[in-house]
Every structure is written in C-alpha cells, then in structure tokens.
C-alpha cells in the first residue's frame, strides 16, 4: 500500500507549507505548467514528476509513491485511464484525478467507474486544488478505517484463540484428571468397606473424609467437563420445540419430582433456534434447582414463556427458599454456592452452565427473588435463528 495521506490544510503561520508530491501523466509541457501554477497559487508546495508513457508511469509510481496522480485522458498511444489499471495491478491506493481537455459526461463517468477519484477540465483548473484536497482527505479516511479494521480483526483473532486455548485446557485437565481420581475414589471406598470398624474410630473418620473428598472431586470434574463442553459443539443447532424438551426434562427428573411431591407445570412454549441438548440442560438445571431449593412445602414450579419485541422471555418460578437480592448475580458464577453442602447438595455449576449456554445464543439470564418467598429465574432467547427472518418465518410444527 502507498504512503499514508498527506494532511493538506491551507498553509498558515503555524503550519509551514505542506509538501504535495504529485505525479503528472502529461505529454504537453505547457499543460503541466498550468496545473502547477494553479496549485502553487493555492498555496501547495508541490514537487512533481512528469511522465508520458505507461512504462515510465509504472516505474515512477512504484519508486516515488506520490500522494496524488494527475493524469491527462488523451496521451497518444494510451489513455490516462489505463494508469488506473496499472495502479490496481500493483495494488497501490493512490488517488487519481483525470485532468483533461474536453471530456463528454459519459467518458467522465467511465473514468470514475474505473476508479478515478475525480476529473477536472483543463479550462476549469480552478477546481483542481479543491479536488486534490478532497481526494487526499478521502484517502486518509480510508487508510485510517483500514487500520482500525485490521486492529479489530487481530484482537478478535487473539480473543478467539485465547478462548479456544482455555476451553481446550479445561477439557484436557478435566479429562486427564479423571484417571488418577478414579483410582483414589475406588480404593478409598474399598478401604472404607474392608476396614470399617476394624481399625480405630479415627481411622474410620480419616478414610471417610478421603473417600467423600474423592467422590466429590469426581462429580466436580464431570461438572467442569460439562461446563467446558458448552462452547464446543456448534454444529448441532436447529429449531427446537421447547414443549417437547420440557417433556424430556420432566422424564429425566421423574424420580426427584416424585420424591419431593413437586408439581411442575408449563405453559405453551415456543420453538427456538438452539442445540436441543443444551436447551434441555438449561431447563433441567432451572427446574431441578427449583425443586431442590425448596422450603417446607412441596415445590410448585411453573415454566412460562412470552414473546417480547426482540426476544422470547422464559420464566421459571418456584415457591422455594428464595435468594437474597445481594447474591442475585453471584449465583451464576462457577462453583459459587450459598449454602453448606450439608444443607443442599450440589457443586454450584448448574447456573453457570445455564448462563454460558444462554449467552452463547445472545440471550441473558437473571433472577428475581427475595429470601423466603420463592424465586423467578428469567432468560431470553432470540426470536429467530440465523437463517430465519421475521417476515418469512415458517410455522414450526410440533413433532
């Protein structure tokens, strides 16, 4: 690419005359002289080279990388407009102004179409300085914008790579950790079984703690694996009927629902664009939590959805123990728990997984709750998938 644009303001006391390096493609010496005179009169400190043939042009333009090219249209064997082709071939972005004698409007438009920035008639040279200024300004803006785009692309690339690295790490770490952990969990359990009551009480306690710790680690790592897997599989998204997903979720939670005497209902739920398994994960985690964090009464859980302007709004409400507002954001953080393990089991990863999944589709998730009076978890999902658009949306049939 060519040099960065030259800033061309009218010269003043603070600003010494800015130098303009121009390459003139002109076979008529006096025409060239006229142009220069016009520019100097406007205050440009212009340094020029004049070329006549295409070969000369190609050589000079690459050598000098001028700020601007002023080309005559008619040059004998070649058209000044061909200079544009040469520039294009050399990947040079230098503004070209066609300065020429009579030129029909049609040809003028052709020049612009071919890439000339402007055209000025030789008997209207008064326009030339302004045309040059404008061309240089546009060039500068282009360069700036390109730079910004490049920087952004680089940052996005770095971020994507960093993310991929992190996910890879989480996956490999959890995966490779499972083997030695399996050994610890298995043998502490065997120890517990074989030697319970045969050593002393302290030994029983020690073995018990070790065994519990190992088992908990196993679940933790499985949870971590599940969490790190959320971003991985991008290919399985499609139109998902949330009603049928709810049916699956109710099946999966059947035992828990029965044990707790829970009543779980849902309204008419929409079809959304997502990975079906992940949608199921979100609903299962939210409904499961609603049942788990119950008070003295049997849990009553309701899942609803309504259409807002820009998204679907899902609501999972319960009559459980609620959440103190000051913890409302905290609970979505990985492994954050608000209760002792003895009060309510679990690792605190369910909501983090929900958040990761929902945000992956551009949605948001949050909770509205008070301590002691139940919670309502809300999350949004976009109305349409990437290939669907409002006017054209086909009816999504229930399976």
């Amino acid at each position: 690419m060519s040099s960065t644009g030259t800033q061309l303001e009218a010269p003043d006391s603070a600003n010494p005359k800015p130098k303009l390096r121009a390459l003139l493609v002109e076979d008529n010496a006096s025409d060239a002289e006229l142009m220069l005179r016009e520019l100097r009169r406007e205050g440009f400190d212009v340094a020029t080279t004049v070329v006549q043939t295409a070969a000369e042009f190609r050589r000079r333009v690459k050598e000098e990388l001028p700020d601007i090219i002023l080309a005559d249209y008619n040059l004998g064997e070649w058209r000044g407009v061909e200079a544009l082709e040469i520039l294009h071939g050399e990947s040079l972005d230098i503004p070209v102004i066609i300065v020429t004698g009579a030129l029909g409007d049609v040809t003028a438009v052709e020049c612009i179409k071919q890439g000339a920035t402007d055209y000025v008639l030789k008997d209207g040279l008064a326009r030339l300085p302004e045309a040059i200024r404008r061309a240089l300004r546009e060039k500068q803006e282009r360069t700036l914008r390109h730079q910004v785009e490049q920087d952004l692309a680089k940052k996005v690339d770095e971020l994507a790579r960093s993310n991929a690295d992190l996910e890879q790490f989480a996956y490999v770490a959890s995966h490779d950790l499972q083997e030695p952990l399996r050994m610890v969990a298995a043998y502490t359990q065997l120890l517990a079984e074989r030697y319970k009551g045969k050593l002393d009480e302290t030994a029983d306690k020690f073995i018990g703690y070790a065994s519990e710790g190992a088992l908990r680690m196993q679940v933790l790592i499985q949870d971590l694996l599940a969490f790190s897997r959320v971003g991985r599989n991008t290919s399985a998204s499609g139109s998902v009927d949330c009603n049928s997903v709810m049916e699956e979720v109710l099946q999966t939670l059947a035992a828990t629902i029965q044990e707790s005497g829970a009543v779980v209902t849902h309204g008419e739920l929409p079809a959304v664009w997502a990975d079906r398994t992940q949608m199921a994960q979100v609903l299962q985690n939210l409904v499961g939590n609603a049942i788990k964090f119950r008070g003295k009464e049997p849990p009553v859980v309701s899942v609803q959805a309504e259409k807002a302007e820009q998204h679907w709004l899902f609501r999972v409400s319960d009559n459980g123990i609620g959440i103190a507002p000051e913890y409302a954001e905290n609970i979505f953080v990985v492994f954050q728990r608000l209760h002792a393990r003895t009060e309510y089991p679990g690792n605190g990863i369910g909501l983090a997984i929900c958040k990761k999944i929902v945000e992956r589709y551009g949605g948001k998730i949050w909770v509205e709750a008070q301590t002691g009076s139940g919670s309502t978890f809300k999350f949004t999902m976009p109305l349409h998938g990437p290939n669907e658009h409002g006017a054209n949306k086909r009816e999504q049939a229930r399976p």
Partner: protein, 145 residues
Amino acid sequence: MKPAPQLLIVDDNPADVGLAREGLARSAYRGQINSAGDGVEAMAFLNRREKYASAARPDLVILDLNLPKKDGLAVLAGMKADPELRRIPVVIFSTSQLNRDIARSYELGANCYVSKPGNLNEFFSAVKSIEEFWFGPVSLPPRGE
C-alpha cells in the same frame, strides 16, 4: 473334571487389575487370573514364549486399549491374525468412550466392548456382568492345547 477357567487381563494399571480381581472375587468366578502389563508381555504370554512357556491358554481375554509398547488394538489384531489365538473371545474393557476406539475394536474382531465405569460400584457391576455372561451360558471355544 473340567479344567479351571483361565482368564487373562491385559491392563497397564496394576490398580485397575487389582480392581478387576476384587470384582471377580465378588462374583462366582473361581478360576485362574493372569495379567499382563503391556501389549508385548500379553503376546508373549499368549504365544507361550520364554518365561511363559508353560502358561495356560486363556479362555477369555479382558483387554484394555491404552497400553505401553504395544497397544490394545495391536494385540487384538495380532490375536485375530493368528489361527491358534483367533478363537479366544476378547472383551475390550476401556475407559475410552471415543467412537473411533469402539468402531476400530469391532472392526478388528473384538467380541464386545465394555466401558470401564468411573464409579466403583458400577465398575464391579460391569466386571460381574462380564463374568456372568462369558463364564455362564457361553460355550467357550475348545482350548486346543
């Protein structure tokens, strides 16, 4: 009187071999259990080479996949290519849940594929299941000493 059943466990993790032995002890199996810690040792045992000259041919081989020196699939391929060994049923017993490991195992002639569970009780269940089936109703191929 029928000779005692012979089982060969091929696994590089002595802890896992220990778990399998424990699982078998809790089952009805009262036969002999031998183990090999890598693929080369496994083949030497099966081919009765050097120190294994008087080893008994196993009635069943429980084979892990990730082994040093020579991996499980190579052992499997070696067994199925050998007319003296190809009849011996092979149960792949591995933590790997990779589709390609399962597919390759069947392609190379594994009789079946059982995933090693992470949970101890499930592990024992799996071992019991293997023992119950292969040393239960199954007619094992004649040992052809």
